[in-house]
């Protein structure tokens, strides 16, 4: 009960943080006719009287529709749902804090995330009370080189698989793809080494992990995407938002094909997002932060269980 009181206090602090910066709190629907086709994000369907809907996995698309209709800077605190994601740092229903800042690029937004993190850490008066807000910025490539001994852009898939198998004892079948091995290494070796003493900001992701970010041209091209890591746990993911409707449509189609290829049930992509991008999304950066995780970390909990009133198995 004490951690729930602390949680309530920190939620007030989050709202005060955005209030001071003139960011507007909004609420968008939890249940939508459209979902997200990304095969790595499993949606939960719900049967309404007038047809199937999807519990949102993030409020990103409707928030972008608000931005396109002139909302200005906005934030939202809401439950989101991802099927099957259950573990020490995962619950299929969890609390997301998502916000968008006009005219900002991803680096500036990453700094704002770290300011919020440091402010909550101070307020919580827990083990991270003296956390530096100035993050350690590291590129995705350098993080993998330093903490897993592989070059995620240059090394052969076989070499990355070998490194992952060394770390995990036994790996999976050798028909796993390059990104599977990179994800496994990241989860077990790279991320746990980051974000100690100060938050870490990971930048310059491979272009094929862009998700909803713009891509910086270059050799190799990199995604305008960042992640914030605290105490070895990924807490936030942000983008300089993709605003090109054709590119967005292309990515939806690629993801839909990937889903089919993996034998996953289809999830219809949101045509209203494409219309909003066509109407014009203002230049902006956005970020989604796992609020349960951040609160657990600043309170010194070893998982999100203590700050979740009733976890999935008891919900």
């Amino acid at each position: 009960m004490e951690s729930l009181r602390q949680r309530a206090r920190l939620l007030r602090q989050v709202r005060a943080f955005f209030d001071r910066r003139g960011v507007l709190e909004v609420n968008t629907p939890l249940l939508s006719r459209w979902g997200i086709p990304d095969p790595a994000i499993p949606s939960i369907p719900a049967e309404a009287g007038d047809g199937r809907r999807w519990l949102h996995t993030s409020p990103e698309f409707p928030m972008k529709r608000l931005l396109a209709s002139g909302s200005g800077d906005i934030y939202q605190i809401c439950p989101v749902f991802r099927d099957g994601e259950q573990g020490r740092w995962h619950n299929p229903e969890f609390t997301l804090l998502e916000w968008y800042r006009l005219g900002m690029e991803e680096q500036a937004l990453a700094m704002e995330v770290c300011e919020l993190v440091a402010e909550l850490a101070r307020e919580a008066e827990g083990p991270l009370a003296n956390l530096e807000s100035e993050p350690a910025v590291i590129s995705y490539r350098e993080a993998y080189r330093r903490h897993a001994g592989v070059d995620p852009f240059e090394d052969e898939t076989g070499a990355i698989a070998e490194a992952a198998i060394r770390v995990t004892g036994t790996g999976g079948p050798l028909d796993w793809g390059r990104n599977d091995w990179l994800d496994l290494l990241g989860s077990l070796k790279v991320y746990p080494a980051l974000g100690h003493g100060r938050p870490a900001v990971v930048t310059e992701f491979p272009a094929d992990q862009a998700a909803l970010a713009r891509v910086h041209p270059g050799s190799p091209p990199t995604a305008a995407r960042f992640e914030v890591v605290l105490g070895g746990v990924e807490i936030a993911n942000g983008f300089h938002e993709l605003s090109d409707p054709e590119e967005q449509l292309r990515r939806f189609r690629v993801e839909t094909e990937e889903r089919q290829g993996q034998g996953l049930p289809p999830v219809p992509w949101d045509p209203q997002l494409i219309s909003a991008l066509e109407a014009g999304l203002p230049d902006c950066a956005g970020v989604a932060l796992g609020l349960d995780r951040l609160i657990a970390l600043v309170l010194g909990c070893d998982g999100i269980g203590p700050v979740t009133a009733f976890p999935w198995d008891r919900a």
Binding site: G84, E85, G87, G169, N179, D180, L188
Partner: protein, 189 residues
């Protein structure tokens, strides 16, 4: 053929890996922010007892192992095999010395044991966690010494040897913790 999805993984689930039955000891879900999720499990081979780590992509399925546990009554041994009976059905099973392991030295006829069956045959047998056994051989008791310090070896009616306090005498019945192989208390008639 029954299968389990990684979503159903939890401690105690019995699965087949490389044609061998395993018991899941620990299941950990890991996932990068965006990308592939994994289940890392620690599993024990039910035949050899060896513990290994495995990593699955979340959403994968594995074959369920035809393994279940049931309480059975110990009947007798013919010197090689050990015979057990399901009390409700009178169905009998024969356990090999390998399946018995150390269990034989703790049980008497009619004791109820937990038998793990794999494809219908006993794979392992666990004795009751606590049992009461008579001492058949030990040094004479030292009257009045209830300090519990030191102790002496005592041979039980089933053949097991445990350390008992000095005041215990031959012919007495004691309560034993079979998991630790330790004396718990004296049993008064």
């Amino acid at each position: 053929m029954a299968t389990y999805s990684t979503n159903e993984f939890k401690g105690g689930l019995k699965i087949m890996l490389d044609g061998e039955p395993y018991n899941i000891l620990e299941n950990e879900f890991v996932k990068p922010g965006k990308g592939q999720a994994f289940n890392r499990v620690k599993v024990r081979n039910l035949k050899t007892g060896r513990v290994i780590d495995r990593t699955f992509k979340s959403g994968e399925s594995v074959e369920a192992a035809d393994v279940f546990e049931m309480d059975m009554q110990y009947l007798y041994t013919d010197g090689e095999f050990y015979y057990f009976m399901v009390p409700d059905t009178f169905e009998q099973h024969q356990a090999s010395p390998a399946a018995m392991g150390e269990t034989a030295k703790w049980i008497r006829e009619q004791d109820v044991c937990k038998v793990t069956l794999y494809q219908g045959d006993p794979l392992s047998v666990e004795p009751p966690p606590f049992t009461e056994l008579k001492i058949v051989e030990t040094d004479p008791g030292v009257r009045g010494d209830t300090s519990g310090g030191g102790g002496k070896p005592a041979t039980l009616e089933t053949g097991a040897v445990v350390r008992v306090p000095l005041f215990i005498d031959e012919g007495e019945v004691i309560k034993v913790d079979t998991r630790k192989g330790e004396y718990v208390s004296r049993v008064k008639d």
